[in-house]
């Protein structure tokens, strides 16, 4: 591949390198040159490693994305038996005003064969059984389940057929977990802050 002239010049170069003697003699006595090699390599790896994290972390949520992380909602807008969907952190948030019948059916199934066992009380705030606030993304692959559908009257995910009950618990289909309950607090009887 290389022309004869090039080959010649490589030979010259190797003689120059070879001119530093006792470089490869015995491993047990590290000399100054070895130290410089090790120190330089460690410094370069350290620098690359130090830069790797900023280069990776830049893809995590930015400060302004994190700042938009909470939302307030006026519950008086939702009639019994209805659901309102709002956008929170880019995802749909289900705010469901459950009827007595829906609450009763959720409690009745507390000890049914559940994939992700939770009682209905664990899924709403104490004394606020009528308000069910859930993240509206199917725990399978993130589609938005439709209100009131499915075999259990809660939600039905049209993508791959997951059925949720009136407590948002997974009952049938491929989803592994119940619809997630976000962090939220009641500011007053009719006002809630999510996030």
């Amino acid at each position: 591949m290389f022309s004869p002239q090039l080959k010649g010049s490589f030979k010259v170069a190797s003689t120059v390198v070879g001119a530093t003697p006792e470089h490869h003699t015995g491993g047990e006595d590290p000399n100054r040159r070895d130290f410089i090699h090790i120190a330089a390599t460690v410094a370069a790896v350290g620098a690359a490693g130090g830069l790797a994290w900023p280069f990776i972390d830049q893809m995590n949520p930015a400060a302004d994305t994190l700042a938009l992380a909470s939302v307030e909602f006026d519950l008086s807008k939702v009639e019994t038996g209805q659901q309102v969907v709002i956008k929170w952190r880019g995802k749909p948030l289900f705010i469901r005003h459950r009827s007595g019948k829906e609450i009763a059916s959720a409690i009745k199934d507390n000890h049914a064969d559940l994939r992700d066992p939770q009682t209905d009380e664990e899924r709403h705030k104490a004394g606020k059984a009528e308000w069910l606030i859930l993240i509206g993304t199917c725990t399978h692959l993130g589609c938005v389940p439709t209100f009131g559908g499915g075999d259990y009257g809660g939600w039905f995910c049209p993508c791959h057929g997951s059925h949720y009950d009136t407590s948002g618990r997974i009952r049938k289909g491929p989803a592994p977990k119940n619809l997630a309950v976000p962090e939220y607090t009641f500011l007053s009887d009719s006002k809630v802050k999510v996030g």
């Binding site: 893809m59 995590n60 969907v85 956008k87 880019g90």
Partner: protein, 439 residues
């Protein structure tokens, strides 16, 4: 790139340049003088077709990037702006969107060609692995490109696919948030997908360079799978295969143009002309046709994590193939049993593609309800997907390893030239249909 070079500089300039940068020599050795088996059929033209596809995607993509805006509020409108207002924008975008489909069509033919003629076997394992890397890069590039128009299918496809990563235990959700740059697929996601979608074709081009390098070390495989024995077995790449490839490329471009000009949306999903709405999921989320088989495998498995593992495993099989196939005979022309299983495999991948486009509970045979076995309806798409998935994995993990040890292959010709010159009784059916055999 390897072996002896017959290049002789024609003039003073070429001689001067050759001593400084032997680039003309490189081109001459690999595209003009390169010794190529003389029996390559039209299945071997798809490498050239793929190079053209990559070129078209890069050129049209660079043009589209001049007019596209990667922002959730403007992306959809900017694509419509390209379609309606930009001069010939409709042409460039339809070339790009249909070009992706043509690219995958060609790559599937190219891959099945390699599977049939045993092009992955020694000494071409690295060549095959580089091809698998290109295919994976193509899938990722196509997926991110499909998100950019920010239609309903773009958005919810991105949601579903990025959620797959969340199936990984412990670190999955953190990786998903990292990929999104937020708590859902949103503006940061769109922006980074655009950046990476622009980058990756150039990565593909780089790996294509390695792929061709790895091809030119052992040289081409050929339909007999028999090694090149002498100069008699080869012809120079130019003019023999430049012309053959050129003809195949022309025919391929005719078909491509038919899609672009007469039915540009035939391969796309109409729902993607609805702007993305995070609060409403389309009733039926499907990927583009070229990813349907993998989607079918994903849905065939009832468990989320296992579904993801099987889907990844389907691609991993391709990487392992050189070490799974135990047969010393390369070409399936001389492996009648393997040939049968190969054609079943091709049909199975098509069945998986069909299943990927259907709803899981759809019936295969309408109206038939008698195939109920223990609460499962065997007459459903999900069960057909399961059977097809089982065959897909069995082909790689059971059939090819076992068959290589148990089958008795037909006698192979002594050399490439032998069956061509003698038309012996061993010449396989269909050989007469290959026009290159006549010469």
């Amino acid at each position: 790139m390897s072996g002896h070079s017959n290049y002789e500089p024609k003039n003073g300039f070429e001689k001067w340049l050759d001593e400084r940068l032997p680039i003309i020599r490189l081109g001459y050795d690999s595209l003009v003088d390169f010794p190529t088996p003389k029996n390559l059929n039209y299945w071997y033209t798809f490498g050239g077709i793929l190079a053209v596809c990559l070129g078209i995607q890069i050129v049209t993509g660079i043009i589209l990037a001049m007019h596209y805006v990667a922002h959730v509020d403007m992306a959809f409108a900017s694509v419509e702006h390209i379609m309606r207002d930009v001069n010939y924008g409709w042409l460039v975008r339809y070339m790009h969107s249909n070009g992706a489909s043509m690219f995958f069509l060609a790559v599937y033919v190219h891959m099945f060609r390699g599977l049939y003629y045993g092009s992955y076997k020694a000494p071409r394992e690295v060549l095959w692995l580089l091809g698998c890397v290109i295919y994976m890069l193509m899938i990722i590039t196509a997926f991110m490109g499909y998100v950019l128009p920010w239609g309903q299918m773009s958005f919810h496809g991105a949601v579903v696919i990025t959620n797959l990563i969340g199936a990984i235990p412990v670190i999955g959700p953190a990786i998903t948030t990292w990929l999104w740059g937020g708590f859902a697929v949103d503006d940061p996601t769109l922006n980074r997908f655009f950046s990476l979608h622009y980058l990756m074709p150039f990565m593909i081009a780089g790996v294509v360079g390695l792929h061709i390098w790895a091809l030119h070390v052992p040289g081409n495989n050929n339909p007999t799978g028999v090694n090149v024995k002498s100069k008699e077995d080869t012809v120079p790449f130019h003019p023999y295969y430049t012309v053959k490839d050129g003809f195949a490329i022309s025919v391929f471009l005719l078909m491509y143009a038919a899609f672009v000009f007469f039915n540009p949306n035939a391969l796309g999903d109409a729902v993607n002309y609805v702007p993305a709405n995070p609060l409403v999921t389309p009733a039926h989320i499907v990927p583009e046709w070229y990813l349907l088989p993998f989607y079918a495998i994903l849905r065939a498995v009832p468990d989320k994590l296992m579904g993801v593992i099987f889907m990844g495993g389907a691609i991993a099989m391709l990487f392992l193939l050189p070490w799974l196939d135990t047969s010393k005979v390369r070409s399936m022309r001389y492996r009648p049993t393997a040939k049968l299983y190969f054609f079943i495999f091709v049909i199975v991948t098509l069945i998986l593609g069909y299943c990927g486009g259907q709803l899981p509970d759809n019936k295969i045979i309408p109206g038939l309800t008698t195939f109920q076995v223990a609460a499962s309806d065997l007459n459903s798409v999900v069960w057909l997907s399961r059977l097809a998935t089982a065959y897909y994995f069995a082909y790689f993990l059971v059939i090819l390893p076992v068959l290589g040890l148990t089958e008795s292959p037909l006698p192979q010709p002594e050399s490439i030239s032998e069956p061509v010159l003698s038309h012996s009784a061993n010449a396989p059916i269909g050989a007469a249909a290959s026009p290159e055999k006549r010469g």
